[in-house]
Symmetry: C2
Amino acid sequence: MTTRSTASSALVLFSGGQDSATCLAWALDRYERVETVGFDYGQRHSVELQARQDVRAAMAKLHGGERLGEDFVIDLTGYGAIADSALTADRAIEMEASGLPSTFVPGRNLVFLTVASALAYRRGHGVLVGGMCETDYSGYPDCRRTTIDAMQSALSLGLDTGMAVETPLMHLDKAETWALAESLGGADLVEIIRTQTHTCYRGERGELHDWGYGCGTCPACELRAKGWQAWPGSVPA
Amino acid sequence: MTTRSTASSALVLFSGGQDSATCLAWALDRYERVETVGFDYGQRHSVELQARQDVRAAMAKLHGGERLGEDFVIDLTGYGAIADSALTADRAIEMEASGLPSTFVPGRNLVFLTVASALAYRRGHGVLVGGMCETDYSGYPDCRRTTIDAMQSALSLGLDTGMAVETPLMHLDKAETWALAESLGGADLVEIIRTQTHTCYRGERGELHDWGYGCGTCPACELRAKGWQAWPGSVPA
């Protein structure tokens, strides 16, 4: 985290959730030009798309708008139709026998990175930034750094140009992700992420808990709440 | 080409062109269950989608319909909108200064393989078959076997299951591709590929040349014609 890339611009995979919002702040701290890309793959919740705009606007204000460039939303509903799962169909959210949550969309991050790399190529970025995280509870195989390394090689070879995939949250737990946000933008950034991002699988804003909005009972809300409570900074001195 | 995979089923990336039709025949020769997938990414020509159905029907008749399973067409027009190029926009088809044809769509095969792998995962296939070819004139970096090897690793890691990517045409020139078709299905298969597949960039059926239908002047038609003429089998004894 102490080394800085010599590249001057990056494309951030940005869903509007806590993790990718922290990645956006991380990229804005490092790169002179930052663009964002999101994917519409038939998720149940348009609240996520609204959160993306709210977070972008708040961060542009905080970090200085000149670094934050265009936003792109790419329609991947055709892919979403394959990847039938709880995130795309209206099924109960529960852990499956395999140990993977039923929200498992096969290869989701592979598809996102590959499509994002094409956009990055067109937009002149040599760096992708994503919130993939091995320490997450979910065990998604497409979140592991070994997978990302292989994908980085495939993208660089297939595009015939260097395409780095940076994953600043890879080895952080959710409490450490809050700490990273604080180190990047202090209490103001923490407050943006706490109140503007959307993580809840059910797409409910609900009431404002200390850890943010959401239903409070789905696995994503539970994880977020636990991370907040585990972060020492969440308790005012 | 002499070793046979122990897998019993495969998913073929099938565009309706000469190369992928030969791959489909190759897969039908090797696997007990073969399904096909195509991608609609806003190409100019619906003639390709029609060719897919015609070729499938003819091959099912030739090879015995019981091996040929379902066909899928996945809407990737959102990706196509990024990958603005001559294949997706109505521009002149000409070689660019970089040496790549203006039909270059960044990472097209990467995206196709990644999305296809998600479908393969859902459909229980551990093998993808694609017509990527290094000996092609175009020099597309996402057609090289080193790229495909890296992608195979990324897909297998990201899906946490073996996902082989077989590329039977990788080291063949177009004349050898015709020879492969003849070895797989004799004159009947050659005739199907000659008269039913679609390769022309302009989407013209035109008249029936000895090498098939097409405008006869775009790079794809020229390549196809040269390959046919270079194949000794094209001249009746």
